[in-house]
Amino acid sequence: MATQDRKNTGGTSSAEEEDLDTPAPAAPAAAQDSGQTQGVDDLLDEIDGVLESNAEEFVRGFVQKGGQ
């Protein structure tokens, strides 16, 4: 037959399932915080690298007409 339920129904990735099933080891609060800060810094660096260069002008130029 044409259809069948997807494994894990939601199509949840196995990685995510592991996250749910396996509690993360308790890290010392300070270490966790610095790890998170590092992740955020990385992310902002990455976004800095792709943001359009002239924010004000670019945003002003995004003009749409009508729509449902």
Binding site: M1, D5, G10, T12, I47, G61, Q64, G67
Partner: protein, 548 residues
């Protein structure tokens, strides 16, 4: 072959087109109007740019990624309906004059042609794709309307297929000499005054009075944004105040119920165009949703709505009547802390989360012990997301667009000390929805593993060229794949064939969304030698569900 999220079933006749019991399974689909600009051409006509998207994708198809069908949209299904049965061969009922009755498209086409674009071929304003979807110019935006599917997970997959098509079109335009690159955005406002839609469609039985749908859906739609809003920098339809809000669309809604979709937008849209057997079905046209990039947000948007529809059909839906739904919609959207309360007519005041919990609890109480896996999965995710949002909204960034966007914005505000009026924050809001893989902030988050995903990229690519197999979209898509020369018109509930040597067109009606499936028509396609043979077999078929 795409393994879809539809239920395992024996005979297709066993599956109702609308929900049976408390379930996420019913016929549904999505529509996305993409935001569009050509940065190097600030004054470009948006209709012309949108037609470039359609034509660029057509050019991509011509190069072998699928069949090109310059298929006209058949608008005749918008006329009053007769008591037609599912698949009706209406020989000779369609004339060429009917096929050209496309005033909006022609007007747009004329505008495009006036701008002096290539005259060697007609500018296409409409495509019906191999996957059963429609890609067309909707006034000033390119729009992708997904094929009909039977469940939220498939709806997410074929919605993502639309984004895949959009990216392919952008790439094509960007690499075509003489054309200025175009950027497509999956968002809902230009943050100046304009909003454009991301609609959902759900098949519901006509026997359910519309007033019962409306009364239960209004408080649900007012609060649904907390689990699937896309987030917006700026408050008010004219962006007259600085700040962040949960929904892209909330500030553009002015009415509770109405017919309009472009002005004085209503929370409940009453357009009654079933695109199916009108005596049996309504198509609930939902216009209030935000366009979602996050797959879980999209999945829950569709899944929880399907569940609430099934509650209404069973007479089990809560009706927490709001004192002022339009104001409540705005108040909830303007409060990312999720603590603001809105007043009910019975004197209670509830938060958006509490309203959602009312519906989630009602579903949980009514859920049968043998509920199918996808239904159970949607309920589990809904419950756990509401618990997360109650604990700390910022913990839901992996699953909720508005939270992911707000987290990035707050990180910038912290690092650079930015006020909400800073144009960089408005740019982040806009660029979150940029569909270019390298530039889009959501795309970056997904690649970094910062968001939860539900569908495989390879499946998305296949869904761009293959229809769902368990709805009439299979019939539409396969007709276009097999008989690109003979299919001269299509709509949600018809295919129009022009056979060589025959003066009259043949219109095949597909008014039952769960007929025309692979199991009903796959063998017919496999056996037919050409379009004429196919139509002959369809006409003489012994099974009335396939042909009269």
């Amino acid at each position: 072959m795409i393994v879809t999220g539809g239920r395992e079933t024996g005979q297709p006749g066993e599956l109702p087109a609308v929900g049976d019991g408390i379930s996420v399974h019913r016929v549904m689909g999505t529509e996305t109007e993409y935001g569009i600009i050509a940065p190097a051409l600030p004054s470009a006509n948006p209709t012309l740019l949108s037609s470039q998207v359609v034509n660029a994708y057509a050019a991509t198809l011509r190069e072998g990624l699928g069949n090109l069908v310059n298929t006209r949209w058949d608008y005749t299904d918008e006329t009053p309906l007769t008591d037609a049965r599912g698949f009706r061969m209406d020989r000779g009922s369609a004339h060429p004059s009917q096929l050209t009755d496309e005033p909006v498209e022609l007007t747009a086409e004329q505008i495009a042609l006036e701008r002096g674009e290539p005259a060697e071929a007609a500018v296409l304003m409409n495509l019906v794709l191999n996957n059963g979807a429609r890609l067309y110019v909707d006034h000033a935006h390119p729009e992708y309307s997904s094929p009909e599917v039977t469940n939220p997970l498939d709806a997410v997959l074929w919605d993502r297929a639309g984004d895949h098509v959009a990216v392919a079109a952008m790439d094509r335009i960007g690499t075509t000499p003489g054309f200025s690159p175009v950027i497509l955005y999956k968002n809902n406002t230009d943050n100046k005054s304009v909003s454009y839609g991301s609609h959902e469609n759900y098949l519901v039985p006509r026997r359910v009075p519309f007033s019962r749908l409306a009364e239960a859906l209004i408080p649900f739609f007012v609060s649904r944004q907390v689990i699937c809003g896309a987030g917006r920098v700026g408050l008010g339809p004219l962006n007259q105040e600085a700040g962040f809000q949960i929904s892209q669309r909330a500030d553009f809604f002015e009415n509770e119920i109405g017919l309009e979709t472009t002005v004085r937008r209503p929370i409940i849209n009453t357009r009654d165009e079933p695109h199916a057997v009108a005596e049996k079905y309504r198509r609930l046209h939902v216009i209030i949703g935000d366009a979602n990039l996050n797959e879980v947000s999209n999945y829950l948007k569709l899944g929880t709505t399907a569940l609430v529809l099934s509650l209404i059909e069973q007479g089990l839906a809560p009706v927490p009547e709001l004192e002022d739904p339009v104001e409540a919609l705005r108040a909830i959207s303007h409060d990312p802390s999720l603590t603001v309360e809105v007043r009910l007519r019975d004197g209670r005041s509830l938060t958006g989360l509490q309203l959602q919990e009312l519906y989630c609890d009602a579903v949980t109480a009514a859920l049968p012990a043998d509920a199918d896996r996808q239904t159970r999965d949607v309920v589990d995710r809904w419950q756990s997301l509401l618990a997360t949002l109650r604990r700390d909204p910022m913990e839901a960034a992996r699953a909720v667009d508005w939270v992911a966007k707000l987290k990035v914005l707050e990180a910038y505000r912290t690092r650079d000390g930015l006020a909400w009026t800073d144009p960089r924050l408005a740019l982040i809001d806009l660029q979150y929805a940029d569909l270019r893989p390298a530039k889009g902030i959501y795309q970056r988050l997904a690649r970094r593993g910062d968001v939860d995903l539900l569908v495989e990229p390879a499946d998305v690519a296949r869904a761009a060229v293959e229809p769902p197999r368990d709805t009439r979209a299979y019939f539409r898509g396969r007709c276009i794949a097999e008989y690109p020369a003979e299919v001269v018109g299509a709509s949600w509930d018809s295919l129009i064939f022009e056979l060589p040597g025959e003066r009259r067109l043949q219109r095949v009606q597909t008014r039952e969304p769960l007929r025309g499936t692979e199991s009903l028509t796959g063998a017919l396609f496999d056996a037919a030698t050409d379009a004429e043979d196919f139509l002959a077999r369809l006409l003489s078929g012994p099974d009335r569900r396939v042909a009269p």
